[in-house]
């Protein structure tokens, strides 16, 4: 591994300054569960690693109706927080299944987003929660909807000197429910063959879907917002038939490849099944949230 220095800033400005100085030869660092593996694998070299865990904005979890997750907050802090778990079960679905217990002690949803893997488990639930990524850079702060954050495998909208500070998840509306499921051949420690995050908000009648959001993992170059399937849900009855049809539509938005983790055909089928299943779970949560 190319030798790099370890920098542990205490403020966002310090962090941004180091990142700006080194450009793409420096990276922010939280749990290290992706970046250290990639460095050892020779994917890229760095001259500096910027440990964000000493920066307060990146390490705090704030629940105040809405939820603000510091970019370096490890998964376990999200799912072990009972108030967060009660209010955002759809996020917990993902936070509690990334890696094993050891990985969850370190890996963060923010890191999962910045790693921009097409198969990231954390990103779909953030998308269906309409999460906004708070980005800080030399020019100050900007806010990016999570579905626009990843631009390709391993690529993001972050410019030189920019870093992800936090994820802002809006307070769930009354009648909102969300869920994430992935398919893996084993029962733990795998990368998703396909993953689907679904959310729906029930109308005041409790049976009609006012709006819905569906996002897909591991079936395209980035985790993707399934716009057509999401739009389809609005105004439909919250029934198994609707969910199945949403799955069919979502599967047309998927552009999977076949690889060591599964065939393209299998992935398309999984999108249908997981869309249906996650919408059913989301409905249950929506009904409990009325």
């Amino acid at each position: 591994m190319h030798p790099f220095i370890y920098v542990a800033p205490r403020t966002l400005d310090e962090a941004v300054a180091v990142l700006e100085q080194h450009g793409e030869r420096a990276r922010p660092f939280a749990g290290g569960t992706d970046v250290l593996v990639q460095l050892r694998g020779g994917r890229f070299d760095l001259d500096a690693i910027v440990d964000m865990k000493g920066v307060p904005e990146a390490t705090t979890l704030e629940l105040n109706g809405s939820l603000r997750i510091g970019a370096a907050v490890p998964c376990y802090q999200v799912y072990e927080n009972s108030a967060v778990a009660a209010a955002f079960p759809g996020l917990i679905d993902a936070a509690s299944l990334i890696g094993g217990i050891q990985i969850q002690s370190r890996a963060s949803l923010g890191g999962n987003l910045c790693n921009a893997s097409p198969s990231a488990d954390g990103i779909c639930p953030l998308i269906v929660h309409s999460t906004v990524a708070v980005v800080r850079g030399p020019q100050g702060e900007r806010r990016v909807p999570v579905e626009e954050f990843c631009t390709g495998p391993g690529a993001t909208v972050l410019e030189r000197g920019e870093l992800l500070v936090a994820l802002e998840v809006p307070a769930p509306a009354r009648g909102f429910g969300a869920a994430y499921q992935r398919f893996i051949p084993r029962n733990e420690m795998d990368i998703a063959v396909a993953g689907v995050g679904s959310a729906l908000t029930l109308d005041t009648d409790g049976t009609t879907i006012a709006s819905g959001r569906i996002a897909l993992a591991a079936v395209g170059p980035t985790p993707l917002f399934a716009a057509k399937a999401s739009a389809f849900l609005a105004g439909k009855p919250a029934t198994p038939e609707t969910f199945a049809e949403a799955g069919e539509i979502a599967s047309t938005e998927a552009t999977p490849i076949g690889d060591m983790r599964g065939t393209a055909e299998h992935r398309v089928e999984l999108v249908k099944v997981l869309t249906r299943r996650t919408l059913a779970v989301a409905l249950g949560r929506a009904q409990a949230n009325r």
């Binding site: 080194h22 865990k53 370190r106």
Partner: protein, 163 residues
């Protein structure tokens, strides 16, 4: 080695290691695993994959289990690290260590330190985990010899005996 603007010097790390205040110098790019094994000389923590997928290098960091291959040594400055070497009381064994022996929960033994450190963390927070919970908690630790049966039984036995 390409152009290196900032010289990469070793950094001092002071941590509480198995209850003892410990200081050492580590390269900033060095993993906690490598520092424990090569710098501090504690080779009980094993390297199986060096990418967080086998759990052989499991240690406890501020009371949470982590894969030490995915932690930088420089990060543990000021923190508490517990490894397999700190598990047994003086001249004795931890109940999990005893249970692993009596249940024949190890064959080659290379994964054993990681399993023990992980299982201890489980029993410290959940004294009576059921079989599914044990299997879920230990899913980040691979064993190729045992099929896990006797490992799960050993953890159950230690749980039963410590209460």
């Amino acid at each position: 080695m390409t152009q290196q603007e900032t010289p990469v010097r070793k950094v001092p790390v002071a941590c509480t290691l198995n209850g003892q205040q410990t200081e050492f110098l580590a390269a900033p790019y060095q993993s906690l695993l490598e520092a424990l094994r090569e710098v501090v000389g504690l080779t009980g923590t094993k390297e199986g994959c060096n990418d967080g997928n086998c759990g052989a290098c499991t240690v406890s960091l501020d009371g949470r289990i982590v894969d030490s291959c995915l932690v930088l040594a420089a990060e543990v400055d000021g923190r508490q690290v517990d490894t397999i070497e700190g598990m047994a009381p003086p001249h004795g064994l931890h109940p999990l260590q005893q249970a692993f022996l009596e249940e024949a929960a190890l064959q080659c033994g290379i994964c054993t330190p990681g399993f023990l450190v992980a299982a201890r963390a489980l029993l410290e927070r959940e004294p009576h985990p059921d079989e599914h919970r044990i299997r879920l908690w230990l899913a980040g630790n691979l064993c190729r010899c045992t099929g896990y049966d006797k490992i799960v039984r050993a953890v159950q036995r230690a749980a039963d005996e410590t209460t």
